[in-house]
Symmetry: C2
């Protein structure tokens, strides 16, 4: 910038003003300086600016969806959110700093203007940890206890459960089963919604705990029900893969879907949609979720009041 100043025959500060479109500088001077800057390929030193302005124009995104730290980055789940976040933040002129929880101790994260936490961690420990940093923070997940310094955005898992229950009830199902892992706060909400709605009609679902969200796990779940000779006519699975596994096992056992047993999955993956038969599923709009997360951090950074928000889910009824 000093060089530019010399070239243009003005002072550094005038160059600075010209490049930042300050109205304090003469239009002609501004043009001249900007032309020179382009010509010589001048590049602003972001560190210097950030140092002076005491802000980084950066939001750190910490990904930690599962207890298994090894695999966190691999699930398509956080990655979809990331898409929305990234688009919204970059178009607002902010940078996205991507880290896993291990990397989050690095200094760069602390320099961020705000934090987006994907996944609350077991027992909210991650949330508490980052709350201490005192940065504007938005968390993706189930609505927490609140009262902290952070905002929560998530999809309304409780409502998702309710919708599935309503659907089952409306088509006359009376012996529903829930497959999933209620230790996970978001899954728990789905279960609660499911139970709440069923209970209002005097029905009590069976809870089948499954930790792995794989196709095999779904197959296994149904087989175990069958082996125990449990009577059931509807399955609410916490993921599409579980649901597809369940259907596959049902078919093997000579059951037809949806005549004998209705099955509804969760997440409405393309995978489920192109399954045969096409899977009914609860859709969460992750793109929108990401955008919302980004908007909330930005609002917090700008000191605007921000509220937690749960996004509506949609039950997509296909063939199962």
């Amino acid at each position: 910038m000093a060089d530019l100043a010399e070239l243009a025959g003005v002072s550094k500060i005038t160059v600075s003003r010209a490049l930042s479109e300050s109205p304090l500088v003469n239009a002609e001077t501004r043009e001249r300086v900007q032309a020179l800057a382009r010509k010589h390929g001048y590049k602003l030193n972001v560190s210097a600016r950030n140092l002076r302005l005491r802000r980084s124009h950066t939001v750190a995104v910490i990904v930690e969806m599962k207890p298994s730290t090894e695999r966190t980055m691999w699930d398509p789940y956080p990655l979809s959110l990331l898409g929305g976040i990234s688009q919204e933040l970059t178009s607002a002129g902010y940078s996205v700093l991507l880290t896993t929880r291990q990397g989050a101790s690095h200094a760069a994260v602390q320099a961020a203007d705000g934090l987006i936490l994907l996944g609350q961690g077991a027992r909210q420990d991650a949330v508490r940890l980052y709350d201490k940093l005192g940065l504007p923070m938005v968390v993706w997940g189930a609505a927490g206890d609140g009262g902290d310094n952070h905002t929560v955005v998530g999809s309304d898992n409780h409502q998702g459960g309710v919708e599935v229950a309503e659907r089952f009830l409306s088509i006359g199902r009376r012996h529903p089963v829930f497959i999933g892992n209620p230790d996970h706060p978001e899954m728990a909400q789905r279960l609660f919604g499911f139970i709440d709605e069923l209970t209002r009609h005097g029905i009590k679902p069976l809870l089948l705990r499954r930790v792995d969200f794989t196709l095999e796990s779904g197959v296994d779940a149904v087989r175990s029900l069958w082996a125990r000779k449990v009577r059931f006519d509807a399955i609410f699975a916490c993921s599409d893969l579980l649901a597809m596994g369940a259907i596959r096992a049902l078919v093997e056992l000579g059951q037809t879907v949806p005549n004998d047993v209705s099955v509804i999955g969760y997440d409405d993956t393309p995978l489920g949609a192109s399954f045969l038969p096409p899977l009914s599923s609860v859709r969460q709009n992750w793109q929108e979720g990401g955008v919302l997360l980004a908007r909330k951090v930005l609002a917090m950074i700008h000191g605007q009041p921000v509220q937690s928000q749960m996004m509506a889910t949609t039950l997509v009824v296909r063939a199962t």
Copy 2:
């Protein structure tokens, strides 16, 4: 840092040295300063350090896989690579700055120590654009013309095509069809590999151009073949979705897979693996790809010699 210096009764510079584990400082002093730093929650100002050291310990990842700029972040493809990149870089103490091409003009990207470009853009224009920045750069994609300042990492699409051809030949197929979009450099490589190997055995495949990589597009492709009464006994589809669509159409038309027609997809998605029948497909290891990308940039940043590299593909033979 100045405050810490006063508290500890030493100078700023000594504090700096103590916190950076410099051997120039007395062990006892170092302990004392570090204890104070912890106690008062001291946080290093990264901007200041970066300014002084003239580096940012940051690698920018620019995502631009498809001509359609709107959707770039949504394909699971770049996102998987991102996982590997992120883990490798953060564990090496580097930060990952995530941007789309639109956001890449922002100053923060230019401040990065290195660049990872996911997707070369149509006609390599993106590559050329960023090459100008003069930063260490690694590009994911098909091996380019080389000779530029960047390194290319990608999976060996040509070999992938060859492997599929070999498989078809080994099971006696004589009328293969290729479905995909040869305008895309990576797809083109697959096609070339496919053709090269087949030609060695005097066989010429049929090329069916399809731009969309959806299930519907695959269905449509096979129907059009059928309508034209083309004779074919093997299909190499450029994506698993295309392959699954093709199979679905074949089944509708009364053909059996793989008895009448063999089908092989690309990418070995979980989707394909849990398809019925389980899809044969060419696997690219994206996790490894991401790790490799990260390692190469780091090497370039450290001034070590780096070479472009194509990763081997694996043909996973399942039921189709």
